[in-house]
C-alpha cells in the first residue's frame, strides 16, 4: 500500500528546522570542528565498501535529529516498504518501480534471472570470439546505440570498470557508444569500424525513441552497404544486431531476431535500468561474473537501506543532508567531484538520475509545492575541475555544496606492475588534492597560517559544505553499492518532498513540438503563428543553407 501524504511545509518540524537553520547560519564550519574533536565520529557511515563523511556539512546534532524526525514523520519506513513490496509508487504512470528486483537472488526473481542467463550466453559468445559477423569474422567492436538511461548508465559503468582485467582467456571487444540524435557519434564510429566485425546493441525501453532508431537505421544502412547486403537481409540482422527493450513487439517489428532479443520490463525506469540487459556493455567489459558482482554490491546496499536505522543509513543520511542544504540553508546547487578519473562519466549519470527524478514542482496529490526540490547538479573529474570552476567555489558569491569521491586503493592490479610505483604516486597526489580542497572549502583561510595577512582578493571565505565518499577500491561490487545508494537516496528525498521520482512528463512535450518544427525547417513559411524568435531563427537557418548551395 502506498501511504497518503501531506504537503511538507505544514509540518511543525519544518518550522523547527527553519528556525534551527536561522540560528546555525552564523556558525562557521571551522567553529564546528574547533568546538568538537569528535565531530567526525558522529557524522560518518561506513558500509558496503563505502565511507561517507558528513562532518564537513554545516549541520549540528540538533539539525540532524530534527531531519531524522522529519523522515519518520514523512513515513519513510512505510514508503520504503511500499517500494520494496512492489506497490504502485509511480502514481502518474500507475506502476511499481522495481529496479531493486533486478539484483535479487535467483529464487526471488526467476524472470530476471532467465534474462540474465540469456544475456550471459550472449556475453560468453562475444567474449570468446564465437559471435560471428555475416562473413564469419569474430566480433571485435560493439556499438551501444541508445540514449538517456540506455546510454548514461552503461557508458559510466563500462568506462569506470574498463581498467579491471578482462576475464581469463577472453578478448574484450572495443565498446563504443552512440547516443546523440544529430549522428555525430554514430558517424564517427562508422568511419573507424569495419562492418564485418561490428555488432550493434540497440537499447531502448520503448523501442520508439527517435534518437536511437535514427542512429540504428544509419548503422543498418552502413552495414548493408559495406557488406553488400540488402537492408532487410535476415543474416545481417541475425549476425549484427542485438535488441534490448521492454517492448518485444516493437523490437521484432524493427527486425531484431527473436534469438537476439533481450528483455526488461515496464517496472524498470530507464534511468534505473543499467542492472538489466541494458547493462550488456558493462558485462562485456567485466564479464558476466563481474556484472553479477556489481548486482551483488547493489543488493547489499538494498539490504542496508531497508535494515539500518536512519542515522546509520547511507542513502537516508545522504538524502537528509541534501534536503537540509536546499530547503533550509538555501544552497541551490551541488557539484559532484570524483577524484578518480575512472568515474569521469558519473556526474552526467547523476545529473539524469537526480534531476530527471526529482526535478518536480507538483506533489503526489497534484498540488503545486511551495518549497524547493532537486538542486542543480553538475560536476567534473575533480583535479580537472580545479582548473575550471573551483575558482567560483572558493571565491564566488553563491553557496554551493560539494560531493567529493575518492578511492582508497588503486593500481594494485598486476597489469600495472611496470609503472605501478609512478601511478600509485599519482593516485596519492589526486587524493591529497581531494582532501586539501574539501578542507580549504570548509575552513577557508582558517586552514592557513593565521600570521599571514591577506589582501581581499586572496582571501578564502570557506564554509562551503561537502560530503566525502571514500570507496575501498573501485570494483564492480563497490560501484554497484555506490549507484544503488544514489538510487535510494533519490527516492528518500522524493518521499520527504512528497513527489513522484519515477516519471518525467517534463521531457515529453518537447519531442512533440520538434515534429512540427521539422516542417518549419523544411519550409520556413510554415513558421506562421510561431513566436518571433523561433520564426526568425528558422528563417535565418534556411537563408544560411541556401547561400551554401
Amino acid at each position: 500500500m502506498v501511504p497518503d501524504q501531506d504537503v511538507l511545509s505544514i509540518s511543525s518540524l519544518w518550522s523547527q528546522l527553519t528556525q534551527c537553520a536561522a540560528q546555525e547560519k552564523a556558525l562557521h564550519l571551522a567553529d564546528l570542528f574547533e568546538a568538537d574533536e569528535q565531530r567526525f565520529e558522529r557524522f560518518n557511515i561506513d558500509a558496503c565498501g563505502l565511507l561517507a563523511d558528513f562532518s564537513k556539512q554545516r549541520m549540528s546534532d540538533e539539525a540532524r535529529d530534527l531531519l531524522v524526525a522529519l523522515a519518520e514523520e514523512r513515513q519513510l519506513r512505510h514508503w520504503l516498504d511500499a517500494l520494496f513490496d512492489g506497490a504502485e509508487v509511480n502514481c502518474t504512470e500507475g506502476r511499481a518501480a522495481k529496479h531493486w528486483c533486478l539484483r535479487e537472488e535467483a529464487g526471488h526473481a526467476p524472470q530476471v534471472h532467465e534474462q540474465l542467463d540469456a544475456m550471459e550466453r550472449m556475453v560468453e559468445r562475444i567474449l570468446k570470439g564465437h559471435w560471428r559477423g555475416v562473413l564469419g569474422d569474430a566480433i571485435t567492436d560493439v556499438v551501444n546505440v541508445g540514449v538517456g538511461g540506455s546510454d548514461l548508465g552503461p557508458l559510466m559503468a563500462a568506462f569506470a570498470l574498463q581498467c579491471s582485467l578482462p576475464p581469463e582467456g577472453q578478448a574484450r571487444p572495443r565498446i563504443h557508444f552512440a547516443s546523440s540524435m544529430d549522428g555525430s557519434q554514430v558517424s564517427q564510429v562508422l568511419q573507424e569500424l569495419n562492418p564485418r566485425t561490428t555488432l550493434f546493441l540497440v537499447s531502448s525501453k520503448s523501442f520508439t525513441t527517435v534518437d536511437t532508431l535514427h542512429n540504428a537505421k544509419t548503422a543498418r544502412q552502413w552495414l548493408a552497404r559495406g557488406l553488400g547486403l540488402d537492408y532487410a537481409s535476415e543474416s545481417l540482422l541475425r549476425c549484427h544486431f542485438i535488441g534490448i527493450s521492454a517492448n518485444p513487439r516493437r523490437m521484432a517489428e524493427w527486425g531484431i531476431m527473436p534469438a537476439n532479443q533481450l528483455q526488461f520490463w515496464d517496472w524498470v525506469g530507464g534511468r534505473y535500468s543499467l542492472w538489466s540487459a541494458i547493462g550488456l556493455p558493462i558485462a562485456l567489459t567485466v564479464g558476466m561474473d563481474g556484472f553479477r558482482e556489481m548486482l551483488g554490491g547493489a543488493h547489499a546496499m538494498d539490504l542496508h537501506c531497508r535494515s539500518m536505522p536512519w542515522q546509520k543509513n547511507l542513502p537516508v543520511m545522504l538524502a537528509l543532508v541534501d534536503v537540509w542544504n536546499i530547503n533550509f540553508l538555501k544552497i541551490p546547487a551541488r557539484a559532484v567531484l570524483p577524484y578518480d578519473g575512472r568515474l569521469k562519466h558519473l556526474p552526467a549519470y547523476l545529473e539524469q538520475l537526480e534531476m530527471e527524478s526529482n526535478g518536480k514542482s507538483v506533489s503526489r496529490a497534484g498540488e503545486p509545492l511551495d518549497y524547493d526540490t532537486c538542486p542543480v547538479i553538475w560536476g567534473e573529474v575533480g583535479p580537472n575541475a580545479q582548473h575550471a570552476f573551483f575558482q567560483l567555489l572558493h571565491q564566488g558569491t553563491q553557496p554551493i555544496a560539494c560531493e567529493f569521491l575518492m578511492t582508497a586503493r588503486r593500481y594494485t592490479e598486476d597489469m600495472h606492475s611496470d609503472a605501478a610505483v609512478e601511478l600509485e604516486g599519482q593516485h596519492a597526489l589526486a587524493n591529497a588534492n581531494c582532501l586539501a580542497q574539501s578542507r580549504l572549502l570548509a575552513l577557508g583561510e582558517r586552514a592557513l597560517d593565521p600570521k599571514v595577512a591577506l589582501p581581499a582578493y586572496k582571501r578564502y571565505r570557506g564554509n562551503q559544505p561537502s560530503t566525502t565518499l571514500v570507496l575501498d577500491e573501485l570494483s564492480p561490487g563497490t560501484l554497484g553499492a555506490l549507484l544503488a545508494m544514489y538510487e535510494h537516496k533519490v527516492f528518500v528525498q522524493a518521499v520527504i518532498w512528497g513527489i513522484n521520482p519515477f516519471d518525467q512528463w517534463g521531457v515529453e512535450m518537447g519531442k512533440l513540438i520538434a515534429t512540427d518544427m521539422l516542417a518549419v525547417l523544411t519550409d520556413p513559411d510554415n513558421a506562421e503563428g510561431l513566436d518571433a524568435s523561433s520564426q526568425a531563427l528558422a528563417r535565418h537557418i534556411a537563408r544560411k543553407q541556401k547561400s551554401r548551395d
Binding site: 559468445r125 570468446k128 564465437h130 560471428r132 555475416v134 562473413l135 564469419g136 569474422d137 569474430a138 543474416s235 541475425r238 549476425c239
Partner: protein, 425 residues
C-alpha cells in the same frame, strides 16, 4: 669425441642421432620422465620419415646412449649441446651452472632458442664459475617434417662464437655436414640469436603477405596460384614460402615471431609490421571456417565437417598452434560435429581435445567424410593429393571441398561434380 646432448626436443634428437651416426659417442639426456621411458624402450621422441630408422641404428650400435638429465656426464665430454624448448631459459641456466661446476665440461653449445641476449647470460654464468669455460650459440634451424635433412645438408649454419677454441671444435663436429661449401657464418652470440629470429620473421611475413594477396585475388577474380608462380620466378623473390593457405602454426615459427615482437616491444621500437603479420595469420587460420559459414549464411547448427590433416605441417605428429585447432574450436562453438583424419597427428589431437569437446577420429580418410557437409583440407599430406572424388561425393552429405592449401585443380574437382573453394582462387 664424447658428446652429451640435453633436452627433449626434436633438435636434441636430430643432433644426437647425427653426431652418433658420424662416429661420436653420444649421451642423450632428457628431462621428462615420459621421454626417458620412451627412450628406455628404444623409441624415439619424434617420428619422422628416415629419422626413425637412423635413430634405431644408432641405439643399436651403442654409440647413442639415452639417460636422465640429472646425471652428470661420467667421462668429461668434449662438447655439451643444450637443446631445450624455446623459452626454457631457466632450465638451461640451471644446467649450465651445474656443468661449469663439475670438472671439465668441454665446450657448451647452446641450441635453445631464447630472447636475444640469453646466450650471453648463459656465458656469464659459466664464466663466473669457471673462467676457462667456453659457450657458443648454434641456433636451431631445423625444419620440422624434414628435420634430419636440414641438419645434415644445411644451406646455412649460424654460429655465435666469441672464442677461437669454440669455433674450431664446432667446425670439427659439423665437418661431415659442411663439405660442399663452407656454410658456417660466424658472428657474435647476440647476432646469431637475432639472425635466427629475423629469419623466422621474414618467412612469417612472406606467408601473411601472400594470404593478404589471396584475399585480394578473391575480390579481383584472379587465381593466386598463377600469380604465385609468376612472383616466384623473379630471382629477387624466389619460390619458397610463397604459398597462401589457412595459416602457419607449430611450436617454432610463431613462437619465434612472438619472441621478436616481444623484443621489439621491450626496446620501444614499432612492432607494427610483425604484429600485423601474426594477426593476419591468426585470422587466416579461420579462413576455411569463414568460407563454410558464408556457404551456409551462418546457419551451422547440426552440420558436420570432416578435416583432412590436423598436424601443423606434413611430416610431423604435432598439433601445437596448428590451424586445425582454431577451426575445430570455431566449429564447436557453432554446434558443428567434427571428424578428423591425419596420418600421424591423431593421438596429439586427442590429447588436446581432452576436456575441450567431442571429436570423432578416423583411421580412414573416407570414413571421416561420411555424411559430412564439407571436407576441409588443412594439412597437405601426400596421400590427400589425389583422392577418389566419386567415392567422396557418394559419402558426403554435401560435396563441398574447402582446400586450405590449394593442392587441387579447381576445374577438375568441379568437373567431378563437387563444389570447390580454395584460398584466393
Amino acid at each position: 669425441m664424447h658428446i652429451t646432448v640435453y633436452g627433449d626436443t626434436l633438435c636434441a634428437q636430430v643432433t644426437a642421432t647425427a653426431m652418433a651416426q658420424t662416429g661420436h659417442r653420444v649421451n642423450w639426456r632428457v628431462v621428462e620422465p615420459a621421454s626417458r621411458e620412451r627412450l628406455a624402450r628404444g623409441l624415439p621422441l619424434f617420428r619422422e620419415q628416415g629419422l626413425d630408422r637412423l635413430f634405431a641404428d644408432q641405439l643399436e650400435s651403442g654409440r647413442l646412449i639415452p639417460g636422465f638429465w640429472q646425471e652428470l656426464p661420467q667421462t668429461a665430454p668434449d662438447a655439451v649441446f643444450l637443446a631445450f624448448p624455446p623459452g626454457e631459459q631457466a632450465a638451461a641456466e640451471g644446467l649450465a651452472r651445474r656443468l661449469a661446476s663439475s670438472t671439465g665440461c668441454g665446450v657448451i653449445v647452446n641450441q635453445t632458442v631464447g630472447p636475444v641476449g640469453a646466450a650471453e647470460q648463459l656465458r656469464d654464468i659459466i664464466k663466473q664459475i669457471d673462467p676457462r669455460a667456453v659457450l657458443v650459440a648454434l641456433p636451431d634451424l631445423i625444419q620440422e617434417g624434414n628435420a634430419f635433412q636440414t641438419f645434415t645438408r644445411p644451406d646455412s649454419i649460424l654460429l655465435g662464437c666469441e672464442e677461437g677454441e669454440g669455433e674450431s671444435l664446432v667446425r670439427e663436429l659439423l665437418r661431415p655436414f659442411n663439405r660442399r661449401k663452407d656454410v658456417i657464418h660466424v658472428m657474435s652470440l647476440r647476432e646469431a640469436e637475432f639472425a635466427k629470429l629475423a629469419i623466422s620473421g621474414i618467412l612469417a611475413t612472406r606467408i601473411s603477405y601472400m594470404n593478404d594477396m589471396a584475399c585480394l585475388s578473391e575480390s579481383l577474380g584472379v587465381d593466386i596460384d598463377v600469380v604465385r608462380v609468376a612472383m616466384g620466378a623473379d630471382p629477387r623473390i624466389g619460390e619458397s614460402y610463397l604459398y597462401p593457405g589457412c595459416g602457419f602454426g607449430g611450436p617454432g615459427l610463431s613462437s619465434n615471431v612472438l619472441a621478436l615482437v616481444d623484443a621489439l616491444n621491450k626496446l620501444a621500437a614499432e612492432p607494427g609490421l610483425l604484429e600485423r603479420v601474426l594477426q593476419t595469420n591468426e585470422r587466416q587460420k579461420e579462413v576455411l571456417f569463414r568460407k563454410f559459414w558464408q556457404f551456409h549464411h551462418g546457419n551451422l547448427a547440426g552440420k558436420k565437417v570432416a578435416l583432412w590433416g590436423v598436424a601443423f605441417k606434413p611430416g610431423t605428429h604435432r598439433v601445437d598452434n596448428a590451424p586445425a585447432l582454431k577451426v575445430i574450436e570455431a566449429l564447436w562453438a557453432q554446434g558443428v560435429e567434427v571428424t578428423a583424419h591425419d596420418p600421424k597427428a591423431l593421438p596429439d589431437l586427442q590429447n588436446w581435445a581432452q576436456g575441450r569437446g567431442e571429436l570423432t577420429l578416423c583411421d580412414d580418410p573416407y570414413d571421416a567424410a561420411e555424411g559430412a557437409d564439407a571436407l576441409m583440407l588443412i594439412t597437405e599430406w601426400k596421400p590427400y593429393w589425389s583422392p577418389d572424388w566419386q567415392r567422396l561425393k557418394r559419402r558426403m552429405r554435401e560435396p563441398l571441398i574447402l582446400d586450405g592449401r590449394n593442392i587441387y585443380e579447381p576445374a577438375f574437382v568441379r568437373e567431378q561434380g563437387l563444389i570447390y573453394r580454395g584460398i584466393g582462387r
